[in-house]
């Protein structure tokens, strides 16, 4: 009996070394400890031995069983390790580049727009969207710019054909549709749709009938701001715009409000800034935006009582600010989409 068991173990040990795949291993294990395995047979034969021989034989069988189990574990581990190794390809060269880098980049105008919006979001302004096609009433009349006003020059406005019907931009009466010349009609839409107090910024695209050159673009982007509150004043306006420019350009920025004219604000100002570190434009006043207190006529045109409500509005060109922030000297770069341009502004 004992010899027989020893022979099984020896044969198994020899065979196990040769095993390299899991199915072979399973078959090998079955030949030993399966229902008809050689060790199983031995176990069964123990029962047939005379009673006095059984303890000894049993002990021998158990010893071999333990040895076989150790052999199984060891073999399986060896096979599993080999299997895992097989999963790996050839060794990598960690210095080779990856095609998955870098990620795409957001357009510089989007980045500047979002940076501006974020600065205003911090002080409670939220984003409002408007349409690029607008009716003349929303684009001009409601903003206190009647038809014969010098600020409303047809030469600068792109019109849609007379009689055009729009499915999702309403108009006041029978006025025409235009490509909006500024983002200010969002003020009117928001004032009509929502309840004061209001504090919005409205980024978007605007259009002028302009020949394209280094500083003019057929379309361009603006951010409009509107604040409507009780008892709002010029000092509040200055505080918010000073905060904004300091956030965008740093604490060294100097600002000044320069009296100006817009039909929809009174008083109206241009906001100029001066910076020590702006290349060729250092240490000189640069116009950055128009602003002013909402004109009482604008409140009247949307049915607000100008005695009860007051507010300020401001609007700035995103291209212009992007050019100042990044030192871009030709507006056309923004619309060419050369990757060597786009990838310079990874934030």
């Amino acid at each position: 009996m004992e010899e027989k068991l020893q022979a099984i173990l020896e044969a198994a040990s020899k065979e196990a070394v040769e095993l390299n795949a899991r199915p072979d291993f399973e078959a090998f294990k079955a030949r030993l400890v399966g229902p008809h395995g050689s060790l199983t047979d031995c176990v069964k034969s123990v029962g047939k031995l005379p009673k006095e021989e059984r303890p000894l034989a049993g002990k021998a069988v158990n010893q071999i069983k333990k040895a076989l189990e150790a052999l199984f574990t060891e073999t399986l581990q060896r096979i599993e390790t080999a299997e895992m190794q097989a999963l790996l390809g050839p060794a990598v060269d960690p210095s080779l580049p990856s095609a998955h880098f870098p990620a795409g980049t957001r357009h510089p105008l989007s980045q500047v727009r979002d940076a501006i919006s974020e600065i205003f979001r911090k002080i409670g302004f939220t984003i409002a969207e408007g349409s690029e096609l607008e009716s003349e009433w929303y684009c001009f009349d409601a903003l206190n710019t009647p038809d014969d006003h010098p600020a409303r020059d047809e030469q600068d406005t792109l019109f849609l054909p007379e009689g055009l019907v729009m499915g999702n931009v309403d108009k006041k009466a029978d006025e025409r549709y235009v490509m909006r010349t500024h983002t200010s009609p969002v003020q009117i839409r928001t004032l009509l749709k929502e309840e004061p107090p209001l504090r919005i910024v409205a980024p978007g695209r605007a259009f002028r009938r302009d020949t394209v050159d280094a500083t003019h673009s057929a379309n361009f982007h603006q951010i409009e701001g509107l604040y409507v509150e009780k008892d709002c004043n010029v000092t509040d306006l200055k505080a918010v715009l000073d905060y904004f420019l300091q956030e965008l350009f740093g604490s060294e920025v100097q600002t000044r409000l320069r009296p100006s004219f817009f039909p929809f604000t009174e008083p109206s100002f241009e906001l100029d800034m001066k910076l020590p570190n702006l290349g060729k434009l250092s240490d000189q006043w640069i116009e950055v935006m128009g602003c002013g207190m909402v004109d009482p006529e604008v409140f009247k045109s949307v049915g607000y009582d100008p005695e009860a409500w007051s507010g300020y509005a401001f609007g700035m060109g995103i291209e212009r600010l992007a050019m100042l922030l990044y030192g871009v000297d030709d507006i056309r770069y923004f619309y060419q989409n050369d990757l060597r341009f786009l990838r310079q502004f990874t934030s």
Binding site: G104, P150, L158, V165, R256
Partner: protein
């Protein structure tokens, strides 16, 4: 508008501000400075008259001479000079060491090719004088040696080019700007004294050069005409010619120059008629007749329309009112008698005429910005004084005044508290009152609400809020205090579209797409060829500037192909791009503005040989589109993409579409861009693309708050089923049919959790025109572990129904 500093000082003798100070101050008064031009010699120290004593050839340079120059001191100075036009004995301007010439050119002791030089002899241009730029300025009058150069030449002038906003018609003249400076610096404004004081009447008298003046046009409320007999035409005096030239006007003759000069002085445009050319001695202010022709002074024939106003005689029109005169009534060398017009025309009317004739003149520019009615007679009298003085002649008959000033001084009622409240800082009542008075307003403070009288020259100041602006302008915006931002919280969210744009661009950037911006307008041909002619027609602008930008874009994809093309041609390779922007579409005869997102992905993925990974295909870009729809807050897993048909921009059988403007309020297309289209754009290799156009109101829906729903903890049982279907069948149609049958047969005891396609096969072993679609059905119960038996029965029933009631065969 150009303003001469020396001219300005005639009305502000006490003005002490330097040109640099004025350049800083004008913008703060609301008058933007476009440019500052210096005419004549500026103040130059250490530039004196010198005489050339010797002239010798430079030992080492053919083109240089070495001169000893006497400059009035004991010793002459040695100057090396590159000019050729000088000789011994010439007197020339000499910039001595220490001089700073225009353009910040500092003169220092130097050596030219080894020879020391202690100064520079100057050319006219180096002194900012007109003349030959290369040669030295030879002073033919031989002024005293050593005389400072500023004593030799008349004082120079500074000309400011100011940009005046449309509300500041009052400052379109030297007196106007002087008046504003007087308010700013609190100076005395000195107006020119008028000599003549003619009588006036409503109609001409017998002595007049006219018989009748009649207004027959609503846009002319106020017209005056003055007869001057026996003028002597000739050139205007030098000072007047110089003034006009400095401001960019061409001198013509004394009468015309005087009308222009007075306009630049007072802001009131004037017109002088040759009275001999006024037929039947009648001036008629009327609307033009349709098609009436007139040749303006710029020698262009203009066809007029009924909405334009003209000044006419009995037979023909002579002047486009407020805009430009005609050759027919021009004052010329033979003119002897003149009629001088000074009038007020309504701004809107002149603006329309000027716009439709595309003709803007110094005159129309001022009328459009509302001239001061009170200045009409003043300007006429001023011009008459100058004409009588310069051109001679005498005034005959009364000044004929028809109509009256349309507006006068206005009284605005305002409380000082209102001003303070709008400004937001403390100001004393005295400060407010003083500021208004400096502006020429009179203030009656006897009641709580002040009565502020604003003179008629300030056409746009008529409400309390306008007074706030005037106060701040003169008080100084620099004096508005700095404060901290303090705002109360407001309950409002970003508009959904803004949030979507952020999410979509972050997602696409993460997928290696680069964001682009293209123009919203494009040429007709692109759209007609790749979209439809009917659509393109609906997107045309009424007044495009160029044919390249004549139509609204219906899609972002042509722009994105431009980006691929440009980058490929510039050697940047083919990279994925995306754009977010508005597109336009026509649906049921109406134009809709959509918020769109689109991307292009070259089929040949940017791969490196050592990097494995799957290439780009339809299903990859479909997944991108679905995720973008998801980001819009819409359910994307149920979207049923169908084949893209009748869409020239897409490769049929390789593109899908879903949604509609009417029902889902968005449409999406995804797949392979038409190969012909990519070929047209010179892009090598196929390009995948996707585009979703949303109606912006989709984003107005409030986002649904996420809610937890409990799920089963028991294991699922799955069953696979392959169906033989027509090769044209869409997998989603079959899947839906199967899912419906499965749900009907599972009853209430457990659920069909999902039915999903997992294999497609077509080819060997299958009948012609058929394909095999394999689906996996997930069954699960919320209450127990399902047995094979339970599920098996249901699965058998499902197969039975599919066999009997559908066109699908079980494989």
């Amino acid at each position: 508008m150009k303003i001469s500093l020396s001219w300005l000082k005639k009305y502000l003798p006490s003005l002490e501000a330097t040109p640099d100070q004025l350049e800083e101050v004008f913008p703060l008064m609301g008058l933007e400075v476009e440019s500052v031009e210096t005419t004549g010699i500026p103040q130059l120290d250490n530039v004196v008259v010198g005489e050339i004593l010797t002239r010798d050839q430079h030992p080492d340079a053919d083109r240089l001479s070495v001169c000893q120059v006497s400059v009035g001191g004991a010793e002459p100075v040695q100057i090396v000079c590159g000019a050729q036009n000088h000789k011994v004995g010439d007197r020339v301007p000499v910039a001595l060491v220490g001089a700073v010439l225009p353009g910040d050119f500092k003169i220092k002791p130097s050596k030219l090719r080894g020879v020391p030089s202690a100064g520079m002899m100057c050319s006219p241009s180096e002194l900012n004088l007109p003349g030959e730029p290369k040669g030295l300025l030879i002073l033919e009058d031989k002024p005293e040696i050593g005389t400072p150069i500023n004593s030799v030449f008349a004082e120079g002038d500074i000309v400011f080019d100011l940009e005046v906003t449309p509300n500041r018609g009052d400052s379109l003249s030297h007196i106007g700007v002087a008046r504003d400076l007087a308010a700013w610096y609190d100076l005395q404004l000195v107006l020119p004294e008028l000599t003549c004081d003619p009588e006036t009447a409503a109609q001409p008298t017998a002595e007049s050069l006219l018989k009748e003046v009649r207004i027959d046009a609503a846009a002319c409320p106020y017209y005056t005409a003055w007869s001057i007999q026996g003028v002597k035409l000739g050139p205007s005096p030098d000072w007047m010619q110089a003034d006009l030239q400095a401001l960019g006007l061409r001198p013509i003759n004394n009468v015309v120059d005087i009308t222009n000069w007075v306009m630049l002085e007072c802001g009131q445009p004037l017109h002088a008629f040759d009275s001999a050319k006024i037929q039947e001695q009648t001036l008629l202010i009327r609307q033009a007749t349709k098609g009436e022709k007139l040749t303006t002074l710029d020698e262009k024939e203009r066809t007029l329309s009924e909405d334009m106003m003209v000044i006419a005689d009995k037979n023909r029109s002579l002047v486009v009112a407020g805009v430009m005169g005609s050759l027919d009534a021009e004052v010329d060398d033979n003119t002897q008698d003149i009629v001088l017009e000074s009038a007020y025309f309504n701004p809107g009317s002149i603006r329309k005429t000027s716009r439709s004739l595309i003709l803007s003149t110094d005159s129309s520019y001022r009328f459009v910005r509302d001239v001061d009615p009170a200045g009409v007679v003043f300007a006429a009298r001023r011009a008459i004084d100058l004409i009588l003085e310069i051109a001679g002649g005498k005034l005959v008959g009364p000044g004929v005044i028809v109509g009256g000033a349309p507006r006068a001084d206005r009284v605005i009622s305002v409380t000082p508290n209102f001003i303070q409240k709008k400004c937001g800082f403390a100001i004393s009542e005295e400060q407010v009152q003083a500021t208004f008075e400096r502006l020429g307003f009179t203030v009656d403070t006897s009641a709580e609400a002040w009565q502020v009288t604003v003179p008629s020259f300030r056409s746009e100041v008529d409400r309390p809020i306008d007074l706030v602006e005037e106060f701040l302008r003169i008080y100084g915006t620099a004096n508005i205090p700095k404060t901290d931002v303090s705002l109360r919280a407001i309950h409002r969210r970003n508009d959904g579209l803004a949030n979507f744009n952020t999410k979509a661009s972050e997602y696409l950037c993460g997928q290696h797409f680069n964001e682009c911006y293209h123009y919203s307008l494009r040429d007709e041909d692109t759209f007609t060829k790749w979209y439809s002619k009917a659509l393109t027609q609906g997107l045309a602008l009424a007044n495009p500037l160029t044919s390249e930008q004549s139509h609204l874009r219906p899609s972002l994809i042509p722009g994105l192909l431009d980006a691929l093309k440009l980058n490929n041609s510039r050697g940047n390779g083919l990279s994925p791009f995306f754009e977010l922007g508005r597109t336009f579409t026509v649906h049921s005869g109406k134009l809709y503005e959509c918020a769109s997102v689109a991307f292009v992905l070259p089929a040949e993925a940017e791969q490196l040989p050592w990097q494995s990974g799957s290439g780009n295909d339809f299903y990859k870009v479909k997944g991108l589109v679905q995720q973008l729809v998801n980001l819009a807050g819409l359910k994307a897993d149920r979207l049923f993409f169908e084949s893209c048909k009748d869409a020239p921009a897409w490769e049929e059988s390789h593109a899908g579409t879903v949604g509609s403007i009417a029902r889902e309020q968005f449409t999406a297309q995804v797949g392979l861009v038409s190969l012909q289209m990519t070929k047209d754009w010179d892009i090598p290799g196929p390009v995948f693309a996707g585009e979703i156009s949303f109606l912006p109101r989709v984003f107005e829906r409030a986002a649904k708050a996420s809610k937890f729903s409990a799920f089963s903890l028991y294991p699922p049982v799955t069953k696979d089923l392959a169906l033989l279907v027509s090769e044209s069948s869409l997998a989603e149609t079959v899947r839906k049919d199967l899912a419906k049958v499965a749900r009907e047969h599972v009853g209430k005891s457990f659920n069909v959790e999902a039915v999903s396609a997992f294999d497609v096969y077509q080819g060997k072993g299958l009948p012609e025109g058929k394909k095999s679609l394999a689906f996996r059905i997930h069954f699960r119960s919320n209450e127990k572990t399902l047995t094979d038996n339970e599920v098996g029965t249901v699965f058998d029933n499902i197969q039975q129904v599919i066999k009997e009631k559908t066109d699908y065969a079980i494989r």
